[in-house]
Every structure is written in C-alpha cells, then in structure tokens.
C-alpha cells in the first residue's frame, strides 16, 4: 500500500475500534430502547403463553406521564437536586478558596482527605452511611442522642436528605479538586497587583478568583445535575434498611421496578427515555443559560 494511501485511511482505522464499540454499546441501545418504548406486550392464554407485541406509538409515554408514582419520583429528584447541587458546589468552592489561602503542606493534606471518598464506590459509600444512620450501630446517632437530639435519619421525611448527604460526601472532594485545578492555573500576578492595590483577601476571592473559576463551576454543576437525576444505587442500598425508600423512590428505581418486578420492559424503556430526555434538557439548558450569561 502506498505511503500516501496508508496515511489517508489511517485515521479511519484508528477511530474504527472505538467507533464500533460506540455504535454497538452506546448508540444501538439508545435506538433500541427508544424503539421498544413504542411497543406494548400483551399476554393472553392460560399461562400467558400466547400474546402479541403491538405498536402503540406514544401510548406508553402517556401512561408513564399519567403514573403518579413515576411523576412523584421525578419531582423528588428534582427537589433533591435543587438543594443538593448548589449546596455541594458552594461547599466545594468555599473549601477550594480556603485551601488556596493556607500553606501548601496543609492544603495538600486536606485536599487528599477531601478527595478520599471519591475513591469509594457509590454502593460502598451507601453501605457505610447506611450503618451510620441506623440507631444502635451509628456513633452519630448515639452522640446526637447523648445531647438530646433524636434525629431519625431514615424517616420518611428525612431519608431523601440523608441520601443527598451520601452524594455530597462522595463528590464534594472531587469538585474541590476540579475547582482547585482551575484556581492554580490563574497567573499569580493578578493577585499580586490586586493586593498592591489594597484589595483584601475576601475582595480578591469575590472579584477575581470566583469569576475566573467559572468554567470549573459550570462543569461541576452540569455533571452534578446529570448525576443526581440518575440517582439509583444510594436509595437501592438503603431499601433493606428502611421502609421509607419505596420501589419508586427515584425515576431509575421506578424503571428498574417496572422492568424486573412488573416485567413491563416496554414501559421501563419508555421511562428510561423520559429520564434521559429530562436529563438532556436540564443539562443542555443549564449550559445554554451559562453561555448566554457569559456573553452579556
């Protein structure tokens, strides 16, 4: 094969392996899921042996939207997200700024400590916190009880926020890392000249640092929004521990339940598509809003 010819087809050859995997395990499932969402399986006959698979168009979607429990689950994660995401981002930002103001040795120790939970898989983080919520095992519950605060982390009203805490615990340190990476890329002269002009640390933080870490804040927020809408493992792990987590607690839990308990795969596919759609709209919408604000 001529050199030139080889150089021309080389890029396609290099992209091909990834491309094949991407098509088979990314694009294809999405297309197939959307396809299945347009059908409905009805079983008939004595033992459900006979039946048909019929094209029902958007009927599954109408059914999903009319399902109160599914809609509730969406509302629940939106509520959690509305509180948890800003809380976590602000917390990460504050910690990153504080770390920036202390000596290097302290800051790298603390940053490592904050980052540690990121290395703990979500399921295991949920197991750890599950035990930290159960009275009788949890030292937290015991200590709080000792000072007269009888907080039930797993009650109907509290469990959502207890789950939110698990998410924050896992991800805040990682977000600190992202923001810090951006902070460190800001040239030091900017701070020098500001300080020479008499700006206080607080003013420097507000006027220079925060605006300049904007890309990092946008990035972490988008992924936080996407992540919280997918909430599955944390409530799933808590289910055997408390009755407050129903089988339709979050949208993904509902879809899972629909597929593997109700055996209605088509409706589950519909719910998965709806969840993906909402995620896409919210994450894209947020990015758009941020871009518009930047160009003002």
């Amino acid at each position: 094969m001529s050199r030139r010819r080889q150089a021309r087809i080389a890029p396609y050859m290099f992209v091909l392996p990834f491309g094949i995997f991407f098509l088979l395990f990314f694009i294809l499932p999405i297309v197939y899921g959307a396809y299945e969402s347009l059908f409905q399986v009805t079983r008939s006959g004595l033992l459900g042996g006979e039946g048909s698979k019929d094209f029902v168009g958007v009927q599954n979607y109408a059914q999903a939207i009319a399902d109160e429990r599914f809609v509730d689950s969406i509302g629940r994660v939106l509520l959690l997200g509305a509180v948890q995401v800003p809380l976590m981002i602000v917390m990460a930002l504050v910690l990153a700024l504080l770390l920036d103001s202390v000596s290097a040795r302290f800051s790298s120790f603390f940053r490592a400590a904050y980052f540690l939970p990121y290395g703990v898989p979500g399921v295991i983080a949920s197991i750890l916190w599950a035990f930290l919520y159960v009275p009788g095992i949890s030292p937290i519950v015991e200590v709080l009880g000792g000072v007269g605060i009888n907080h039930d982390f797993l009650s109907q009203g509290n469990v959502l926020w207890s789950i939110g805490n698990i998410v924050i615990w896992q991800l805040a340190g990682y977000n600190v890392l992202v923001i810090t990476a951006q902070l460190k890329s800001i040239p030091g002269e900017l701070f020098e000249s500001a300080r020479v002009d008499g700006a206080s640390s607080l003013q420097i933080a507000r006027r220079i640092k925060i605006p300049l870490v904007r890309p990092a804040l946008i990035l972490t927020t988008v992924f936080a929004i996407i992540g919280i809408l997918q909430l599955f493992a944390e409530p799933m792990i808590l289910r055997p521990i408390t009755g407050s987590v129903s089988s339709t607690f979050t949208p993904n839990l509902t879809a899972y339940n629909e597929a593997f308990v109700n055996n209605n795969y088509n409706l589950a596919a519909t719910q998965a598509v709806i969840i993906a759609g909402i995620t896409f709209v919210l994450s894209f919408g947020f990015l758009r809003a941020m871009r518009r604000k930047a160009s003002l």
């Binding site: 990834f18 995997f21 202390v102 983080a125 055997p240």
Partner: protein, 289 residues
C-alpha cells in the same frame, strides 16, 4: 477615624486564620468519618457492632473477622473482588486503548467527517451510564447475551470523555515532527502510533484509565441488571446482596461492614497515590473551557 494598630491587625489576621483552619478541619472530619468508622467496625464482632460505641475499639479481632469474611460462602468474597478487578481493570485498559487511538486520529489527522464524529462522541459525554443500563439489558436479553462477563465488560469499554481527553492531549503533546520522523524512517502508521505516539501520550492514558476505572467500579446499575449468577458479581453487587439478606442472617451485618473495609483499602491507596493524575487530567482538558 480609629487607627488600626499593628497589634489588632495581626490578631485579626490570626483570628481569621483560626476560623479558616477550623472550617478545614471540620470538613476533614466529615469526609474521613465513615472511613475511620468502618476501619474500627471491621475489628468488631456482630455483638460489639451493635453494642459498643462506634468510634472506638472494643475487643478488636481483625484477623478473625478477615478470615470469616473471606471464607464465607466458599470464599465468594475473593471471587467478587477478582471480578471487580476484571471488570474495572480490564474494561479501563481496553477503554484506554480505544480512546488513545481515536483521540490520536482526531487530533493529528485531517479527514472528512472528523468534526462530526467528534461532536457525536462529545454528545455521548452528557449521557450517563445509568441511562444506558436498561436499554443495554433489553438488547442483550434479546440476543441471549446477559449474565456473562462480557455483558458487563464490553459496554464498560466505551468512554467518550476519554476520547475527548486523548484528543486534547495529543493535540498539544504529539508533535507533527515526531510523526514525520517516523514516516521518513519508513514505519507504518500503526507502529508510529504504537511505538512513538503511545509513549508521548502516557499521562493522558493514565488519566483515562483512572477515570474509566472509577466509572466502571461505580456502575452498579449495569451489573445489577445484567448479572443473575452470583459468581459473576462485582464486589459492590456482592456486598449489597449480603446486606439485603442481613436481617435474616445477622452475621451478614458484620461481614458486610468488614467486607466494605477490605474492599476500599486498595481503592483508597490507589486514589491517594494517583491523585495527581486526576488533577492534571482536569487541567489538561476539561477546565480549559
């Protein structure tokens, strides 16, 4: 106008420094508490788990517990750990290779469809793995390919973000001169990639490996829907099933807690020692706009 004396200026600086350190320490306690707790809980029997105070030892029996955990159910714990290593390690390795090749091509070659392909891949970055789990299951079950190692391994090898990272890095780190030199020497495109480019891209490759590793390790939904044979479970799924049965078999509380501790030791060691790769990976690609 009150004059700020040197002394009060210094003491207010010292005060704010104390506040800063206090906040940082409190945050440190928050993040380390569950890990410290599970380390202590690992040494306890079931009775002490429920009986003694959580943040201090009580008749520690780490070795006994360790043996109990790895021997339970014919050593399935170790099998689960090995499975996780396979899924996360194998999957991340493959992902790294796929991303490296694709990223290199997108960075250093001009070809029709380049930006379209890249934008489609980029769109994939916004699609969370949970969104794919159920559709993947539906597809796999149609083809009777569920409940196997491949069912979890193959989808895990797709990491669109990794392609993005590799492209950005290759654009900066792989010089045209390097490639030209290889061509002048008569090397094939593939050996230029495998021998020259691969080595230069190493930091990005390690970063992609780590991101993929963590992502696969965290992918509970996929393993849950695909696998019904307990021998195939990753450690996360395994521990969650133990916990699920614990109310019927109380020793499982102790085994789950202890198992969780054993499982996170290698991960924490990995996270701490390779922290800088996350930092550099982020500076390289994501936060630059």
């Amino acid at each position: 106008m009150p004059v700020t004396t040197r002394r009060s200026a210094t003491s207010s600086a010292a005060r704010s420094r104390t506040v800063v350190l206090t906040v940082l320490i409190l945050a440190g306690i928050y993040f380390l508490l569950p890990i410290v707790w599970v380390g202590i809980a690992f040494t306890k029997t079931s009775a002490d788990l429920f009986g003694s105070f959580g943040l201090w030892f009580s008749d520690p029996r780490p070795v006994d517990n360790f043996l109990l955990i790895i021997q339970h159910e014919n050593g399935i714990f170790l099998r689960w750990m090995a499975n996780s290593a396979l899924y996360a390690g194998g999957g991340a390795l493959a992902a790294m290779l796929l991303c490296a090749a694709a990223g290199y091509a997108l960075a250093k070659f001009e070809f029709t469809g380049r930006e379209t392909i890249f934008n489609i891949i980029l769109g994939g970055v916004l699609v969370p793995s949970t969104a794919l789990a159920l559709p993947l299951y539906l597809l796999a079950s149609q083809l009777h390919l569920t409940n196997s190692y491949w069912a979890v391994l193959l989808p895990s090898m797709v990491n669109p973000f990794g392609v993005y990272l590799c492209r950005i890095y290759a654009e900066g780190a792989v010089s045209d001169e390097l490639i030209e030199a290889g061509r002048v020497d008569g090397a094939s495109e593939f050996s230029i990639f495998a021998k020259l480019v691969f080595r230069v891209m190493t930091p990005a490759l390690v970063t992609v490996f780590l991101f993929s590793f963590v992502s696969i390790w965290n992918n509970y939904f996929l393993a849950l829907v695909m696998l019904s044979d307990r021998d195939l479970y990753p450690i996360t799924l395994g521990l969650s099933t133990w916990l699920g049965y614990a109310d019927r078999q109380p020793v499982l509380y102790q085994l789950t807690v202890g198992g969780a501790f054993i499982a996170i030791i290698p991960l924490i060691a990995l996270t701490l020692s390779l922290q800088r790769f996350w930092r550099s990976g982020l500076t390289e690609g994501s936060v630059k706009g």
